[in-house]
Amino acid sequence: MKIGILSKRTRMLTEKIKLCLENKGHQVTIFTLKDLIINENLLNNDFYILKSKSLFFIYAGYFLEANNISVVPNPRISYSQKNRVHSNFLMKKIGFLRPNIFMGTQKTLREKLETEDFPLILKPIMGSGSRGVKKINSLHELPANNNEILYLENFVEGIHYNVYFIENYICTLIKPPLSNEHVPMDRIETPKDIEDIIKKWRFYHKDNSLFGHFDIVRENNSSKLYCVDVGSFPEFSGINPQVEGFYPAEIISNLILRQIGKI
């Protein structure tokens, strides 16, 4: 088959997935933002892997689906994870606890937020992971940006987990707050309540969430789990193949091919 990968990068997991698929006899092309032209030329491939969630990759996903070309993961689900407002309501709908959200201009936030609302986390509305994320401890730390709307979430004090899932496999790691998946993390046995969150998520999305990751915080006072972020295609860099006994790229490539077979 002719397979396209929509990805910010050509290295790391993207490169490994490409190699796995090529080793199985498929022809693979990586499209980055430098060379992705979203028009009929994309229809020359049989299906696409939506590795990155940049807006234009998601647009490409919508375009491909409108032209009956399959895209894995589903662009609509990827979008709902990229847009933090969508992501918040989606997680609430599934029944997960979420930190409280505030939105407003800097002036409104300064006028209406109370001291006890802090600390808060400033995040881009469109984004995932830790890019552009900053802890705001007081009103004085709010960025000055005229009438731009700021998006903030309550900072939950507690243990921060990075949780990967690939089908029924779950890998839970403890990480420093607000860090990405590339920092050193401690592997722990997955607690039952975290396992339940992943099961609920996968049940809700049925076949459309084969793998992904969650940022979850166990609040110190209540021990309750707050889902703070979700991603459809992490690098899985916290998984140690020697410890886990498999390479994520290999398993993910097989899952995607199986999914395409079903579609």
Partner: protein, 271 residues
């Protein structure tokens, strides 16, 4: 008295809704939510309005509409889906084309790549801010090539997208403007704004055009819009093309537009 929530920004409040609010205040209990001074707090959302009317399209507005739709059964005009699709030009082009509506050819390209057609207009990809179409004619060979200044700004700095949305240019004698207000469709034509910036000067009401009206109803259905304006151009071989959909139309250009829209909202509550 029925309660109506108006979700708006400072610009629209200052320039676009004077008469509308005067009239509406005499008919309903109006509460105004202004984007620039409203604090959205996801844990506090006790709305008691009978209906919401949205007259802006910023990030906070979209989030508030989403919050109301997710947490209550209060109708919102226009819906989150309608507003979101309207401002996302590329997404609405795909959606409308998939639904069988006649949209001009379009392409989304990195800025250094040419589109697959010679005559085109470069438009902004996300039409969310409050400023009017500002055409820049690109003088190049025998083709008609126009860029909206907003689109150039998006690529060259403000948003740093690195991408252009190209829409094939349709050479048309008239621009057809249809307003959809619930079940009512009002049809006008005017000289294309590209060559005649004072659009109202040439605007005139036209008899109902069955083809255009059918397209208008379908756009409203597909995009879940109850209040909209749509722009159509007609090619030399007499085919209509839908070039723009607006979720916050300026109803001041319609005779008694403020009353028509306010009465529509009051009627929606009854329904």
């Amino acid at each position: 008295m029925k309660k109506i929530g108006i979700i708006i920004d400072e610009y629209h409040l200052k320039y676009k809704v004077d008469e509308f609010l005067k009239y509406l205040n005499s008919k309903a209990d109006v509460k105004i939510y202004i984007e620039e001074s409203f604090l959205l707090n996801s844990s506090e959302h006790r709305f008691n309005e009978d209906i919401f009317f949205v007259k802006a399209k910023g990030d906070l507005i979209l989030s508030l509409v989403k919050l109301i739709e997710e947490e209550s059964t209060i109708p919102v005009i226009n819906s989150y889906k309608g507003t979101y699709l309207s401002i996302n030009r590329y997404l609405n082009s795909i959606t409308l084309k998939t639904a069988g509506l006649p949209v001009p050819e379009f392409s989304l390209n990195p800025k250094d790549f040419d589109p697959p057609f010679n005559d085109y207009i470069i438009k902004n990809i996300i039409d969310q801010d409050n400023y009017a179409f500002s055409p820049v004619i690109i003088k190049e060979s025998e083709y008609t090539r126009v860029a909206d200044k907003r689109a150039l700004d998006e690529v060259n700095g403000i948003k740093n997208y690195g991408y252009f949305y190209y829409q094939k240019f349709i050479d048309s004698e008239w621009e057809y403007k249809l307003y959809g207000i619930g079940e009512e469709i009002l049809c006008y034509k005017q000289l294309p704004v590209l060559f005649n910036p004072n659009k109202i000067e040439s605007r005139r009401k036209i008899p109902e055009n069955k083809e255009l009206i059918e397209y208008a109803y379908k756009v409203m259905e597909v995009m879940n819009l109850k209040l909209t304006s749509m722009d159509f151009l007609q090619s030399k071989d007499n085919h209509f093309y839908l070039t723009d959909v607006n979720c916050t139309p300026n109803f001041n250009y319609i005779k008694n537009g403020h009353k028509i829209v306010a009465d529509f909202l009051l009627n929606e509550i009854k329904n």
